[in-house]
């Protein structure tokens, strides 16, 4: 299976302290090595959301915490 647009797009998922969630999309064209940074002052949790129905993560997902 190949990584295709848009069904396999990776989402950087954050959840804030009120339970609101946001997903910023990383596209296949952006490459397989993805980096994002978020502040723990605003977000309680963050991580990568695997594309729907896929059991395998298709990108290297790096998260940074700026505090």
């Amino acid at each position: 299976m190949s990584w295709t647009n848009p069904s396999h797009n990776m989402g950087f998922l954050t959840i804030d302290y009120s339970g609101n969630w946001n997903t910023l999309t990383a596209f296949t064209s952006d490459g397989y090595d993805q980096y994002s940074s978020y502040s723990a002052s605003f977000y309680a949790q963050g991580g990568c959301q695997n594309p729907g129905s896929l059991g395998t993560v298709w990108v290297n997902c790096h998260e940074g915490n700026t505090q």
Binding site: W21, N22, L24, T25, S37, S39, Q49, P51, G64
Partner: protein, 199 residues
């Protein structure tokens, strides 16, 4: 403003072998980097450093709003001064992408989806920038309705939707003659349910 007219004429006169180079020329801004200078927050500065972009020279190309949420398209220079792009929201930024001009796409766009609880998708924003030959850009919402997006001085664009029916699902770009240049589709679902499994 993008250098459109001269480069577009070049596109028409060059052979197929040079067409790709001509399209790359349509991504050149007279002012150098596109956008208004902004002060980078910690998340923006972190992704700039990670991507080899000067965090002191970040610019805002377009900004979308939905309620109290914003989504910003950032530009910044790589080591050679070429424009790299990132998207950011409050306290959260994704990596800068450089060398995107090599793409044959006519639009560069990144969406952000969100909701008030893990089962609900009721917020969708998108920001981007269009190549110099794009004359019209139409956004399609999840309820099937469409709207024309305005291109700003740098050919940036933005859209914010704050209901389940106003989530952006597609962008279609046309040139001045009405020919479709590009179409980008988006898929989104809440973290629990939809494309993903139940939580």
């Amino acid at each position: 403003m993008l250098v459109a007219a001269v480069a577009l004429a070049a596109t028409l006169t060059l052979g197929r072998g040079n067409a790709h180079a001509a399209k790359r020329a349509l991504w050149v801004w007279k002012q150098g980097l596109p956008g208004q200078p902004i002060q980078a927050d910690a998340a923006m500065a972190a992704v700039a450093r990670a991507g080899g972009v000067d965090s002191q020279q970040l610019r805002e190309v377009a900004r979308a709003e939905s309620g109290d949420r914003t989504l910003t398209l950032l530009s910044g220079p790589d080591g050679s001064g070429h424009a790299c792009f990132s998207v950011a929201t409050t306290g959260f930024a994704t990596q800068f992408h450089c060398g995107w001009q090599a793409s044959t796409r006519a639009i560069l766009a990144r969406p952000m989806f969100g909701g008030t609880d893990p089962q609900t998708l009721n917020r969708g924003l998108v920001v981007g920038v269009a190549r110099g030959d794009v004359a019209r850009l139409i956004l399609t919402r999840s309820d099937g309705t469409t709207t024309d997006l305005t291109l700003n001085f740098w050919n940036g664009f933005a859209y914010g939707g704050s209901s389940a029916g106003s989530i952006p699902v597609a962008l279609t770009a046309y040139n001045a003659a009405g020919r479709q240049l590009d179409r980008m589709t988006f898929e989104a679902s809440a973290p629990c349910g939809g494309l993903t499994s139940a939580c």
